[in-house]
């Protein structure tokens, strides 16, 4: 007895919880996006239909936000997957103390985002930061107000920090995928250096390709959600050059106090996340069918 109902009973607590803390907020988000609601009176919104969406999409600032988000996400994914893959290839060999090397490389990913933001802010301090000093010594002019206040450099600085944070995860994941590549082939490739590129292209890449796709999807989502790093380092400035979607949303809600506009931006973000997840699954199953 009970076996028919047993799975639902086991599911129930989590289902109730997810309904209360994910589904209801999501509905509230949809509702808020159709209202004019002030932060000061969050329960007293008035229905305005699509007005928030019209205003958000019509605003040049939001166009800049979308562009910045696109640049940020693409650069983060390319940078973290590229660097992570490179590091995984480096670590994929019989080496003394490889596990120690792997553990040390993991550190940036394990460090709390706030701590990462604080140390990079300090390292990029306009006068005394070690990175600023190093750049000045190399003859790079970062301007008097420093890297993070320079519209030409701030986004690159945020990108470098984000990639520093993300590449270890990619490296660890791809290292374990690489270990599935037949060892004899790797050995053969190592003996005959002329064949290395061929082995990489024909064997290694074929084995790790699906994992690279998955990890690229995760990096896309993680870049879309990255908040505290940018908020602490630049708050989206200077001149909005580092204002990604989540930063825009947060400052609309909690600085401009416009919860309705923020909710509309939130819906755009949710749509983006959905497109990434569904799109990448469609691509990966199409690739599988082809193979």
């Amino acid at each position: 007895m009970g076996s028919k109902w047993a799975p639902y009973l086991f599911l129930l607590p989590a289902a109730v919880y997810i309904f209360a803390f994910q589904a209801i907020p999501l509905m509230q988000q949809v509702y808020l996006s159709f209202t004019r609601t002030s932060l000061l009176n969050p329960t007293g919104g008035t229905w305005v239909g699509l007005a928030n969406y019209v205003r958000v999409f019509g605003s040049p600032d939001f166009h800049q936000t979308l562009w910045t988000t696109l640049v940020y996400v693409v650069a983060c994914v390319v940078g973290s997957v590229g660097l992570g893959f490179g590091v995984a290839l480096l670590l994929n060999a019989k080496l003394p103390a490889r596990n120690i090397a792997r553990a040390v490389v993991t550190i940036p990913w394990a460090a709390p985002g706030i701590a990462t933001a604080l140390i990079f802010v300090w390292m990029m301090n306009p006068q005394y930061g070690i990175i600023t000093r190093a750049l000045r010594a190399l003859g790079v002019d970062v301007g008097a107000s420093g890297i993070l206040d320079n519209p030409n450099l701030a986004l690159s600085a945020i990108l470098a920090t984000t990639i520093w944070q993300l590449f270890p995860f990619v490296a660890v994941v791809l290292l374990s995928a690489l270990q599935a590549v037949p060892m004899e082939l790797q050995e053969a490739a190592r003996m005959d250096r002329a064949n290395q590129w061929w082995v990489f292209r024909v064997v290694t890449w074929q084995v790790v390709k699906p994992t690279v796709g998955l990890v690229a999807m995760l990096m896309t989502i993680w870049s879309l959600r990255r908040f505290e790093l940018i908020w602490i380092m630049t708050r989206g400035g200077p001149l909005g050059t580092t204002r990604t979607l989540v930063i825009d949303l947060y400052s609309q809600a909690f600085e401009a106090q416009r919860l309705g506009d923020a909710a509309a931006i939130g819906m755009v973000g949710i749509a983006m996340a959905l497109i990434v997840v569904v799109g990448s699954r469609a691509v990966s199953s199409a690739v599988e069918r082809e193979a």
Binding site: F21, I119, I232
Partner: protein, 276 residues
Amino acid sequence: MRTTKIGVTARVVGILIVMGVAVFPLYWMFTTALTSDAELFGAQPRMLPDLSRFGVFVDALAKGPSLTWLRNSALIAAGVTALSISLGIPLAYALSRFAFKGKLAVGLLLLMTQMLPEALMVVPLFSLYRRFELLDSLGGLVLANTAFVLPIVALVLKGAIDGVPRELEESARVDGCNPLSVLLRINVPIIAPSIAAAAVIAFFHAWNEYVFAVTFIFNKALQPASVGLAGFVGEQGTSIQTVMAVSLLFTLPAVAFYLFVQRYVVSGMMSGALKG
């Protein structure tokens, strides 16, 4: 043979550079905490920590609010751990052991939850929290954070339960145990290491969390360390050495524990992305 030697050397040098890049910011945190003002703001940076100044760590904890912050972080994290494990074990068991209608939908829902950024949900949660008076409470933060860590916890636990032989359950069921006591008596003890790993993941997810904490907590006495530390930025009167010392104390436990559980996190994340 020679070329192989050179190849190995190049590889080792490359790995050492990557290790240096990975570790330098934390090293710099440590060094900065242990450097005097005169050398910090001098013409030449001091590259090595002055170990005679180690008292800065004691002072950072003894003076000011950092101990309260760390305590609040630990309380929130402990709550999130307890709640997400108690919700996650039965959820994982249902997903691992039963075939039922709507299973695919549950899996998809978990994936979506895992993919949904916290910052996108902060506005509706804020407005609901205002209505239900959950602002300015550590319990409210526990509830908000658990929702976002539950998917990874459930996936790690599901993977562990998948590995428990069904025969062990059969014999218990013959003895008349109901499904719940089968889960508690047979599965839970066997998957204890994975439960511990999931607990560490949940704990440090909450420990590191910032956006809900900074938005939902106004009372300074309830601030966790992430918010307290971030508040140091641009604030006059707090020395950079103190900021770095507290940051390091905040960072080290997270890094140390993550090194133990990283393979669980990786496989949980990847299986979620794969199957959802």
